[in-house]
């Protein structure tokens, strides 16, 4: 195994993340928690956009629905966080599946426009349905408590986020290299061929929308709990652009790339927070730079330059790969 391969680097990142609260101050724990939340968003969005090839713009809206769902269920119905949080994620998943229905008939620019329209509609609801959403000013959510555990809220939330990131990362990683992940890529690369091999397009597009909705919903619930506050502007078009930038910078169609892209962009945006106005400029420059010079993202660069970053879409059988490489010689019956 390559020393600087994917597995080792991600494990090292995990160790740093697990130890981070012991050497970081409260502000940097907040930043680290933000990274974890964006990792979830990027993984979900990348499965939909990178793997399945669906150019959808509703992820920020589903992030918002997760946050509003989790927050409002606590505020209006007095539900505990532990019930409101998964419910918020379920609502976001359901909305993801629901918007996939009209979206499934559309592709390319039409899909982009219709999902964008949905996202704007969601913003409008957040802003104007004041009786429920408290309008433009937003609302405060109850501070959650990790009561029996002797742990403060920021620490508790950080480790909750970390555990969810680990679990959802592994699930996504398993999924993309299975028959389902291959069906996603088949839909992306050739719908007509995918169909002819028995891949039901509607079903797999809906599944990808549902998964991205679920990841965004989980992220939204965590985000609302971290900020103790929910307001419409966190889930607007700029939010969508940030998430898209993360998967482009990290690498489309790569779960590990989603982690790297989210970590890199949140870090850069935080570093530039003090320099007013500079944030947008650098952000735009990074995006243009990657699209022009590194269209494969960070992960594309690593795959080309460093050993051990390959991401096969199937499980490599231990010990079997070498034999296939060795038995290459004779077979050339039909080589057009």
């Amino acid at each position: 195994m390559a020393l600087f391969g994917r597995r080792n680097v991600l494990l090292a990142m995990l160790l740093v993340a697990a130890a981070a609260p012991s050497f970081l101050n409260a502000y940097y724990v907040f930043v680290a928690n933000t990274i974890l939340i964006y990792v979830l968003l990027a993984i979900g969005l990348n499965i939909l956009v990178g793997n399945t090839g669906q150019l959808a713009f509703a992820n920020a809206a589903m992030f918002g629905i997760g946050a509003y769902g989790t927050g409002l269920l606590q505020v209006h119905f007095g539900w505990p966080f532990w019930l409101a949080f998964p419910s918020g994620a379920v609502i976001a998943t359901a909305v993801g599946l629901a918007i996939s229905l009209p979206a499934l008939r559309l592709s390319g620019l039409y899909l982009a426009l219709s999902t964008l329209a949905f996202a704007q509609f969601t913003q409008w609801v957040f802003l104007n349905w004041e009786a429920v959403t408290f309008g433009a000013g937003g609302f405060k959510t109850p501070t959650i408590s990790f009561a029996p555990l002797p742990i403060s809220k920021p620490m508790g939330l950080y480790y909750l986020s970390l555990i969810l990131v680990i679990v959802l990362f592994v699930l996504a990683q398993n999924l993309v290299r299975s028959r389902i992940g291959r069906a996603f890529v088949a839909v992306r690369d050739s719908e007509i061929a995918a169909q002819s091999l028995g891949v039901d397009l509607l079903r797999y597009k809906a599944l990808a929308f549902g998964i991205s909705g679920f990841y965004a919903g989980i992220a939204g619930g965590l985000y609302s709990a971290m900020l103790n506050f929910v307001s419409p502007e966190g889930y607007d078009l700029f939010q969508m652009v940030i998430q898209k930038a993360m998967i482009v910078v990290g690498g489309l169609g790569s779960i590990a790339g989603s982690v790297l892209g989210a970590s890199a962009l949140v870090s850069i945006l935080e570093l530039l927070r003090k320099v007013k106005g500079f944030q947008e400029i650098v952000f735009g420059a990074i995006l243009v730079g990657f699209i022009l010079f590194m269209p494969g993202g960070i992960i594309g660069f690593l795959k080309a330059k460093v050993r051990g970053w390959e991401e096969p879409l199937h499980r490599a059988r231990p010990g079997k790969r070498s034999t296939s490489a060795a038995a290459t010689s004779e077979s050339s019956e039909v080589r057009p």
Binding site: A172, R182, A183, D189, L197, G198, S331, R335, P336
Partner: protein, 263 residues
Amino acid sequence: MTTALLSVRGVSVSFGGVKVLDGIDLDVKPGEIRGLIGPNGAGKTTMLNVISGIHAPHQGDVLLDGVSIVGRKPSNIARLGLGRTFQTSQLFRGMTVLENLMTGLHHRTTAGLIATSLNLRRYREEEEAAEEAARQALEFIGMSAFADRPGSALSFGQQRVIEIARTLIGDPKVVLLDEPAVGLSLNRLTEFDALLRRIRDEKGVTLILIEHVIRLVMDVCDQVTVLSSGRRIAEGTPDTVRNNPEVIEAYLGKELRARHSAP
């Protein structure tokens, strides 16, 4: 009649008032290699699209092994045992050759969201069997060396052959091939002949192929159906079709037909 594996009955398709197919009948017996030829615009590809469920016919019926498949989704028809390839390469470029072939087993595998994401044993076993089958399929076409190449790094001809293997791996009853020999050099044609026969003989697959390389059609097909302007103008063994005056006319025009039949 009843022995036909694939049966097309009175199928008509029109696009914007233009009749692309006009009451076509076609009966293909199990184990047959059927050629589908005709001048450009005769409706050959539309015919394959109707059979595979991409276009719905406005009239008529298509039966696969006695079951009507009109109105079903293409993915559903694939599940019933119909495979096809396309005029242009439709290899999944973001996958390796091996993964392309494994995708061909999609409708023959069942692991769902939970089994795959939790990496359950049932799924792992299915995945291993799929990989094994994919390697065997590569061996069948003599391209084992290409297993780990990305789909985007192959020549056009190689892509075409792998697409055929990708369809075969799902164990179809009937495979439709849309101009499979495009991109093959002439000296590879004999090998390709042999491959088509082996698909029929060893895999027991019935083939329907559209082809412009007439030599291939004449060599390998048991029966040939000729379409012209959406109608079936001839059907029979390659030899009888070759000498059919209507066929010669459709390809060469009236005057040449006179000259052709003169000596």
